[in-house]
Assembly symmetry: none
Homo-oligomer: 188 residues x 4
DNA sequence: CATGAATGAGTTTTCATTCAT
DNA sequence: AATGAATGAAAACTCATTCAT
């Protein structure tokens, strides 16, 4: 049995990605975490704070996964492929964390001060793309724009895949998306 | 003054994309539309129905904009570029509609029966990509996957742009994104 | 049927003096005012705001009662007696208002900004005492100190009386208190 | 370090007079007493019992202070002056105890059975006034009424003083109040 | 003895929806 | 048709009290 605080986070994370933050009630969270509703308020200042904390946790996990992948090689193209691949692997290993972090991109339900201090997954992308551009292997594109492109591609690919709307296997979609992302940036 | 029903839709659309559907109250909608709260119930069955109706309207507008762009040429690559371009133009002309349609992709706050009957923007993409693949100009990729890629790219590009996080001009970002999208699909 | 807002105020005032502000629940207030709990929040920002508004109302009533009494004569001693008398009359006519205003003296449950703008009953006392001191009929005492003395005397007299702990009639207690108050200030 | 039970009483007493009994939480009390919340329940049956116990302690201290002052002389006027003086001294020496005992007068947050068994400060006043009336030195007033008067005077005088609303020094206010109180009762 | 996490019944507050006017 | 006061069900949040450690 993990500690109660983590139980609450895990239960809330799952409900948040399923139904959205605003539509998830503290009662549901408590029931899903097998704890009393009031307990949420022992560990968090309120539902919003809980959501912010979960964002920090998930963004941290995602960031670490990408950073690890980026560390495995030094060639820009290889690193780029590795982190695109890592996005798919993270989405498969921790689907809720993945969806929650990207949810926060679209809706502004999270406290804007949160992202200011947190290491964001996008930072890894930006570094790799900068290096690729600097080395001349990549087109001279804005690194944040490229990051947006690739994250957007991966997000929709994974969304359609998990919705069962794409016939190809997950491995095929992943491979195609890595190839596609490389075509976006790589001069060769 | 347009009619009351449209006022309500327009006010609600803006609030929905600003704060999310669940976090927008009927009172706010009524105030923003300069009408009485009860009036919402003259035109719509409830808040959910209002959101569904707005989705239909916005998806219809988006779909028409893309279809028009697709109709201007017959060459797959040219049509493809045209509809990617149209995405940017639509996002600039009707930012709320654009954001609302894509919001509905990510959160499942809308009644699932809605999308079944409505002509969706993605259908235009799928057709164009299918034609491109059939003609041999495009790589043999799943058309829905490509649609997801391109829509995801455009969505993030526009998001980062409107957040002021990209230094390049809107025209540059748009041109880069169209080029990038072409590299994704086009064999040449 | 008076309006709902007034019903809520009247019901809340009674409960507040009976049990204290913090120990009175919004549910009790609503039940006592024969209305829905949510209605309280149509008219007031919350329980605290309701208490503040009631204070303004009661302090205003009390202030007007004293001002009227003070206006009936111009001789300092006569005016002084008149307002002490008016305190008793007000306490009998509107016991809840009287107790609520004095409750606010002792507990600091009310928003301190309230009293800054409101005409307070004590102001009438202060004016009359100042005039008496200036005319030489009264001892040269701090007018606020005298006000405190007299209000304190009246409050406890009325408290003990309404608690049935004093055998004398109300009229007798009132007359004795007026005489006593005069002895406090008057040189003759 | 005094014992834990006394720490709790002292901390609770201070919070009770600051914010009222109902608005003080057991968590605040525990934090302020540097002890665990559950510890309150080792020494007291609950928050209400704690408040009752504190009342007994404070009323006892106040009663003893007055009784001591009353014992220093046998002349009614001198004894009367002495206990009025003792009220001020007690209020200065133990402001929280003073305020708490008088708080209990106004709000009825305390268990009514408490006061039945406890020696109350007012009893000292009543005795002295009775003696003064019997000796003919005082007007033939109801002793409880006089007690109410004097306590009320002192309470408001001290309240205004501690709120900084009276310019005179504490000693002056005290002297004036003792003189005033004597004028209330003394025939000479 | 002492702790403080856990509880659950209670509180305040919100809000979609209804309905008399 | 239009209004907005009124509702009540359900939300977020609080807190005295208990109890395993």
């Amino acid at each position: 049995m993990a500690n109660k605080r983590d139980d609450i986070c895990e239960a809330a994370l799952h409900l948040f990605v399923e139904k959205g933050i605003a539509s998830t009630t503290t009662r549901e969270i408590a029931a899903s975490a097998s704890t009393a509703e009031g307990n949420i308020y022992r560990y968090f200042r309120g539902k919003d704070h809980l959501a912010d904390q979960i964002f920090e946790i998930c963004a941290g996990r995602f960031h670490r996964a990408l950073q690890e992948a980026a560390g495995l090689s030094s060639d820009p193209s290889a690193r780029f492929s590795a982190i695109v691949s890592a996005v798919f692997e993270f989405a498969e290993a921790e689907p809720d964390s993945f969806r929650f972090v990207l949810m926060a991109h679209n809706t502004c339900e999270l406290n804007p001060t949160v992202s200011a201090e947190t290491a964001l997954p996008r930072d890894v992308f930006i570094d790799v793309v900068k290096a690729g551009v600097a080395s001349g292997q990549f087109y001279p594109l804005d690194p944040l724009l490229v990051t947006g492109w690739v994250v957007g591609m991966a997000q929709k690919a994974i969304l359609f895949m998990s919705a069962g709307r794409i016939e190809a296997t997950g491995a095929q979609v992943k491979a195609d998306t890595i190839d596609g992302a490389l075509r976006l940036v790589s001069r060769t």
